[in-house]
């Protein structure tokens, strides 16, 4: 592990410390609900790095490359909270450009909602003292987008969500372009900061041979709740303000009427339909 750049020693070489938060998620499109047995069907569901986190990893790798081209340095640490098998996701993160990784894993973390998850991750990050934390905009299993902003509040960093481009980055601040519903906002954020990124920001690379080798031999430490000094009443189920009380299948949609024929006929049928629907 890196020991953390000590900002009080002026002659020390500046290294931008980046942490990328990743989550191991099931390939959600394969998770289905069986309405007959009222259960989740998870057979054959593989796990993967949350797709949005791949953009976060790639952006960290690109920042590191850009700094290297200027004769400056960056380090990338992938951080995940999850069960012991989430280590696989962290190895994949190393193959994609992270220098090292930390797994936050403890029985006591389990059952955490977004409040308790962001608290635990923030405790882990506090030990690493990064200058910049990059997260995906949301995870595709929970889809909440709450953990990134939550981490920033817990660790008391500045933040910017939905980042589509990093305009500039120096020792004191990062200037980002945020993707909003009606356009882009250009925003300057003081470091240390947490940013969450959208898909538009880059195109993730595939693992390099060297990356794969690094991933294979990397030693990934596991930090428990005690290691990150996270009190039990603020993590896992006890620390979570929300509770899931029911899980059920969404209303099933069935295909309706179907039409085939010449394009002109179909266009006429469509006009009729749009009039019936009171659209035109």
């Amino acid at each position: 592990m890196h020991s953390g750049a000590d900002r009080s020693i002026p002659w020390q070489v500046w290294i931008l410390k980046i942490c990328v938060c990743i989550k191991q998620v099931p390939a959600t499109t394969e998770v289905k609900f069986d309405p007959e047995t009222n259960t989740l069907i998870r057979e054959g569901v593989e796990s993967q790095i949350n797709p949005f986190d791949l953009y976060a990893l790639e952006e960290a790798a690109r920042i590191k490359e850009r700094l290297a081209a200027q004769g400056e340095e960056a380090s990338i640490t992938a951080v995940s909270m999850g069960p012991p098998q989430a280590e696989e996701a962290l190895r994949e993160a190393i193959s994609l450009g992270a220098d090292d990784a930390v797994l936050l894993s403890d029985r006591a973390f389990r059952g955490a909602d977004t409040w308790a998850t962001s608290f635990a991750v923030a405790r882990g990050l506090a030990k690493l003292e990064p200058d910049l934390v990059i997260c995906g905009m949301q995870a595709i299993d929970g889809d909440t987008g709450q953990v990134g902003p939550g981490i920033a509040v817990h660790i008391d960093y500045a933040q910017a969500t939905y980042v589509a481009k990093i305009e500039s980055l120096d020792k004191k601040k990062i200037v980002v372009k945020r993707l909003l519903e009606n356009g882009y906002e250009i925003c300057s954020v003081r470091l240390p900061a947490v940013i969450t990124v959208v898909k538009e920001i880059n195109e993730p690379r595939t693992p390099s041979l060297r990356g794969k080798m690094n991933a294979k031999k990397a030693e990934i430490p596991t930090w428990t709740a005690a290691d990150v000094e996270a009190p039990e009443d603020k993590i896992g189920l006890p620390g979570s303000p929300t509770q899931v009380v029911k899980v059920f299948s969404p209303p099933h949609r069935e295909g309706g009427e179907r039409f085939a024929g010449e394009p002109a006929e179909l266009a006429d049928r469509l006009v009729k339909l749009l009039r019936e629907l009171e659209i035109v």
Binding site: D34, N38, E257
Partner: protein
């Protein structure tokens, strides 16, 4: 905290085994479910799945303060340049129902600067109060300032429920407030109701790309907070009797107005045809469009119908149209009155973003395309031929050239 199997209720049916997303449960030879605590994530799926109430999660938890001091339903009055976001009027509608069920007040809280017009507009809706927090520093949304100010107001006035639109602003902002207040926040709700027995807010939301729905409670802390998707609830009607809601001005404490961020510029890019989450009609194009120049026919139809332009991931990844148009798991989730999918096969990832549209029309050459399995009306044919004809006929109908 503990999870346990109640032995005399469990008959070893194995429903919980199927339900467990972490494969932590097995049924032993004596027909009893055994939970491996090293694998269990306490998600509660097995508790929901068990028909015999044989699994229980015990949480020794209680409220740390008297929750009865909290009352009222608040809606975050998101504004941009003084104009209230359309989703706010949808939240006023459902907020009124929730407040009536709780026999409490409904208020909208707006943060910004020079909000007289916004306040006047809001006061015509069936609210009890419009709270205004005005300061030059609050003119534009800044997560840090907004979260500090709203947290302060919540602590002082103690609303029981706090709702915001699931917009980029609403989702980022309430996340910060929920952490500061130490309360629960449920994202992207599609259903909200007050429990008859317990008076709690039952918050229902899709998860796993819309494959499952979950109902969530926030029993021990207040306010109960939720972000709500666009177009899920109808826009509230205005007051019928011409009366006005009371406008209450709140002071934003100067020490709360500092921030580590600064907005340098705003580039308005997404005109009406782009803001797909607010559109009533969306015309979407996919791989079947074949060429970026053909997207013009999708835009023309959208324009003729007064709708917005959507796209599948395939079309966005091919570079035919910008990402802000993408509908689906890694794009936007939309819920328009009418969704017209043109040349979109309808992969599950796309369905995750549009399957809750009121009406779905699919136009696709391939009769076996998965999109037809959920389309309310399917048209088997080439969208490149059909769509321009359709646009022409609609224009002719309107007497346009």
């Amino acid at each position: 905290m503990a999870i346990r199997v109640i032995e005399d209720k469990c008959n070893g049916c194995g429903l919980c085994v199927k339900a467990c997303p972490t494969a932590a449960i097995e049924v032993d030879p004596k027909k009893l479910a055994i939970i491996d605590l090293d694998l269990c994530s306490y998600c509660g799926s097995c508790v929901s799945a068990c028909r015999f109430r044989a699994i229980a999660i015990d949480i020794e938890k209680q409220a740390k303060e008297d929750l009865s001091q909290y009352s009222g339903v608040w809606v975050f009055g998101e504004q941009f340049r003084g104009k209230i976001a359309p989703v706010v009027f949808e939240l006023i509608g459902i907020g009124r129902q929730l407040a009536d069920d709780r026999k409490s007040e409904l208020a909208v809280v707006v943060l910004g600067d020079k909000l007289d017009n916004a306040a006047a507009e809001l006061s015509e809706f069936p609210l009890d109060k419009v709270y205004l927090c005005e300061a030059p520093e609050l003119a534009q949304y800044d997560g840090e300032r907004y979260a500090r100010v709203l947290t302060d107001v919540i602590r002082e006035r103690k609303p029981e429920i706090m709702l915001a639109g699931a917009t980029t602003t609403g989702r980022s902002f309430l996340s910060q407030v929920a952490i500061r207040v130490y309360t629960g926040l449920t994202a992207d709700c599609t259903g909200l109701a007050i429990g008859e027995d317990d008076g709690l807010l039952y918050q229902t939301r899709p998860a796993y790309g819309g494959n499952i729905m979950a109902t969530i409670l926030c029993p021990y802390t207040r306010p109960q907070m939720a972000t709500v998707r666009h177009k899920v609830f109808p826009t509230s009607p205005k007051r019928s009797n011409g009366s006005k809601a009371e406008i209450v001005r709140l002071n934003a404490k100067p020490q709360l107005l500092s921030s580590r961020s600064e907005i340098l510029d705003f580039i308005e890019q997404c005109e009406a045809t782009v803001n797909i989450v607010e559109a009533d009609v969306i015309v979407s194009g996919g791989r079947g469009i074949q060429d970026p120049s053909n997207f013009a026919i999708i835009e023309d139809l959208a324009k003729a119908l007064g709708g917005a332009v959507g796209a599948s991931r395939a079309a966005v990844d091919a570079g035919w149209i910008p990402y802000c148009h993408q509908v689906g798991q890694t794009g936007k989730t939309v819920c328009p009155k009418l969704y017209i999918a043109c040349g979109i096969s309808g992969a599950v990832q796309h369905q995750a973003g549009m399957s809750s549209s009121d009406t779905i029309i699919a136009i696709n050459k391939d009769p076996d395309a998965p999109i037809f399995q959920l389309a309310s009306f399917g048209f088997v044919g080439d969208c490149l031929e059909i769509v321009p004809l359709l646009t022409k006929k609609i224009r002719a109908l309107r007497g346009e050239a």
